[in-house]
Symmetry: D3
Subunit: 254 residues, 6 copies
């Protein structure tokens, strides 16, 4: 399987760490590539306007990845641009953290809590969980009151905040499973899991492994994305005419 | 009130008509301006990737409009970029056709049917209605099997298709109200309304008049958009640093 | 526009204040009249039996208003008799506080809290919000533990109670918007809004301005209430035969 | 048990038949009384305004019945005035056809269809089923296109219409249980049941037997209506002061 | 009516008490028999695996009861095996505590809280309430932190725990009705009811009286279980061939 | 990974075929074993009583599999005994066809239709989809009117029936993805997929590959089933005391 991980932010600060995590997480015969966006793009996506500014990059990258990669992962727990990217991924599967994490949680327990960066993230992420039909299984969504770039900047503080909120989620909200609701919360799940004794699903490996899984079944059984009705892709020639998919230099090839 | 209507497509082909419709629809003391996107942008948004490509324009235009306009209308029934645009509209209200039309319909009857361009539009628009909490009131969503640019190209065919599907919606699906689910379906609502004897809400005047209404109550009562939690705007200086809101030439000023 | 505000209670104690508020709130060319019910009717509607006792008055008044007024507002946050009144309003729009307030809130933030008089009001008002499809957006409903006639009797206490519960709604429940869930809570919204920095929608101006808005679009575009299926009005002659709509002296004419 | 059946219409045309049905249906030690409203009230309730006009009678009758009867049945499938009547029924249970029929259906099959008088009834009755939390179990609601007073006027036509729609409900909609959605549809359930081989719940015996059942458990176990929060009754003295519950001559006593 | 109460546990420790309760609760002409399972079966069902182990017994007993009993009650608040048992109950009605209790609560108040044995029970019972369509009416589900066999072992402690949680449910969660969410919580409802002044529905008499009620209307009106679609019973001869319904010695006859 | 596939029926007629399918479907380093139940158990599970009769076998087999297998698949689209089996699977993941198929479908299209054996299956399977929170994505559930053992008995008829209903699902119901709603519908998905051009998810490979995926992430990341609250397993010694898990000869060992 060839899998493309898109860090949809204008910084490569997370790329090396994630590449390392994904290489450890992947199956032997999987190839993985981590890319981020050109400088000048927002370096985190807490604000929806920032999300909106990078959606075209996600679309173009996914469009370029079609035919080369078997799956694409959009590395933001807002599942930014997921519907848009899926439209023109061709036969490539597109996954994103929130959908994959809540699906996986459904095999591990009756309920989950999601630990998100801050109060800013709560309304849209709650709506996303509701859209996926899993609001009834969400015990709570708890803000950590940490910025996206603070998670890795001060790991001991992050671990402490995560432990506090995960413990509350389990003890006060009745969560049976914990989900880390930001891709930048990587590197902490095993410690919290060990300490709390409940599965802790992180936002990096969950969508990545789901992508690997879906890519495998796509290739094996022909379970490629439907291209009917709402999933219909735009006509290839039309896009070419408008030159809209090519107006940035090739980002992920070469 | 000063209201900006954004036709979020890379063609001004609808602008003059819409300007005319809005000028007829507006209150005396309202000023309205219709803008569309630069050439090279998709000329219609049926595909979600096309939507994604124009979201940054919608964001930038709304950002520029803040402080100048009292309200901004995003002229696409997908309500494209609504959450993103609202974030940085400052004190300006942002409306979009689907939300306004289903809200208005709630004062006119028990149920509505939405007549959309084609089967492509059905899944996302259905999800949007569900997101707004009004799925129980939707009698049906019926595709007209006409492209966005065909509505005005062959008006007699469009009127015929609309009458056929509106009649079915009323007679077979039990709709008490009809909603025209594309801004390009303008100019037909009065005829169908007269013939069928049910209110027919069109996608141009509905969000425009709603914007005018909300702008008035914002100014009168201070009902400006909340800026708490999920509605918090990005810090102004940050955007400036990244230069991301300025990387297109000013579109709506001057 | 000609708008009739019905205070559906057997006291005119609120009439002058509301008339004043509405005159300040109205557009220049709007005429507004405030009426209340004859003495002997309940002077507040917290109890559902009291609501039931005044529904016929609401029906008769709305019936009389049809043809004279462009819109009728039922001034109780239970939206008392809304379905019944709408049936025979002819071309007049009928609005009520809860529906209008939650619709308006949908343009201002992701979630709202409603501050209601007491625990008595919570179950039915919660059911009403659920009926409108907005339960997912309600952060909380908080009782103020004040009677309907206490709000204006001791304004400083009312303001204090409102500030306490509004603050809790924002800080503990995550509300982005506050709704005042009783028409008698008038006169406080601006102060709380200023102090808390979130939009505070009151139950008087919200349905009134919504009525004005809907009346305008009804007249402009023919968006009069549907008269199909569940919205069908009773046959005019039948009502006359039974003399049921005339058994009180004309209330709102003359 | 002493049970009061209220035909909430201004005609006693159904009273004798219903009295007979209820006497056959009752347990030996149950006493039943059927009352209807004074002449001049609407003779059927298809229109919501008609419902509204009789709600005060239902309230007053229920208020009078409290302390005399163990249960009160409101004989209209709209469950007209149910919430209002329950408030001041004291220790008497109040039932109504829709709630009782859908509850009973839940013990007999996975899904039900409701056969209602006409398209007028569909929206409100659908909303009522949704309010009770049973929309997922409703296979369909089918209008019979017969007026309330036509059911008994031409029994052979009624039976034919019922058989046609019940058969469609079973064969096309997958209904496992049929509910007759109007109290005036009495006298047909056994024949349809025998012919179709599925349980057919009628709107007269269902709420009556449910009332008898609930009255028994109320008396036996003290399961009287809660009087907390939304179920709190108005203070007795207040009602007296306003003279609102006494402004009609005693209807059900003497 | 002849009613079979199945204590679906491998102990008869509750049988005598329940027999006594049911004899006091029954109507004069009702016959009731209490049976439990053979030794070696789990003696309580908090664990879902334990439930699974006794479902065949419930099925076989219900199958044997068909034709002899008019109704069967499955005495566990998980409503264990309800769907399975209903399939082959013939004309006998099958009830279970959760469904009956929430239905009865719907006639007594706007909301209920369920007091369950422990945190183990919460997720499945919550799902069951949601399945019945009543999640919106559930104020809370509160664990008592007592094992099933502890309820009767130390009645004063049980009463104390029940009072504490019932009081919290009423005061903090807004419950208008209390439901005791375990059949072993018998014998306490009257005391709590008297002390708190709200109806307290217990899990023994609720499904028993509901069974008696449904059995009566089944016999009177022919409202026997539907045998269509999902309610279709397996062919009698097939079961005989496989000898699966006979592989335990007759349990309830003789 | 070591995966156990349980055909929860008293016949091994499907075992060899499924073993073959799974061996083709598995990853190189996965070991798979297919087991079925002892003779005398129902040979298909369309009836819920039949499901109930085999749940103890599923429980015991899963209990035995814990510690030996990394995952267990319950091979029935009713997801029979899934909650029960999960409770005592230890660190083994348990999957079942319906949950896995609808989750996978969520990555391939906006909506799915499920082709089930007959009308018997529709109500429970619909409830299951609703329980998983995906009712909004189900375009339809269509019965094939074929018995479980007829699918393989007459493959050309089965293929024809599948093509007819799959085509209707796509063309009339708007399904973007097709799910085969019975494990015995194996061997047809590729042909239908090729002919219709939409992904066709079968009920054998879907839960098997999902099990393989979940087992891998469990081992890699420690994402073993939660054992808190509703997922808590019964105490090991208690089960031993009652001898309930050992009362059948070891089924899957040796």
């Amino acid at each position: 399987m060839r899998i493309l991980w898109i860090n949809p932010v204008g910084t490569d600060v997370f790329d090396a760490d994630m590449q390392k995590i994904l290489i450890e997480a992947k199956r032997r015969d999987t190839e993985v590539r981590v890319v981020s966006l050109p400088a000048g793009r927002p370096t985190y996506l807490s604000y929806h306007a920032y999300e909106g500014l990078v959606i075209p990059d996600i679309i173009r990258m996914t469009h370029q990845a079609a035919g080369i990669y078997d799956a694409v992962v959009i590395g933001c727990f807002y599942d930014t641009g997921l519907r848009e990217a899926r439209e023109l991924s061709g036969q490539a599967i597109v996954t994103a953290p929130c959908q994959s994490a809540v699906d996986i949680a459904g095999y591990l327990g009756n309920s989950f809590s999601i630990l998100v960066a801050g109060p800013k993230e709560v309304p849209k992420m709650t709506e996303t969980v509701r859209k996926y039909g899993r609001a009834h299984a969400m015990a709570s969504m708890r803000p950590l009151h940490l910025g996206v770039h603070e998670f890795q900047a001060d790991p001991s503080r992050t671990r402490e905040r995560l432990m506090i909120e995960a413990t509350r989620a389990v003890q006060e909200d009745g969560a049976e499973v914990i989900i880390l609701g930001c891709t930048a919360e990587y590197g902490f799940n095993r410690a919290i899991q060990a300490e709390l004794g409940v599965p802790v699903i992180d936002a990096v490996t969950a969508p990545f492994k789901y992508a690997e899984f879906m890519a495998e079944v796509a290739v094996r059984f022909g379970w490629y994305p439907s291209r009917l009705y709402g999933s219909q892709a735009p006509p290839a020639d039309e896009a070419a005419t408008w030159d809209i998919f090519q107006d940035t230099a090739p980002i992920i090839r070469g």
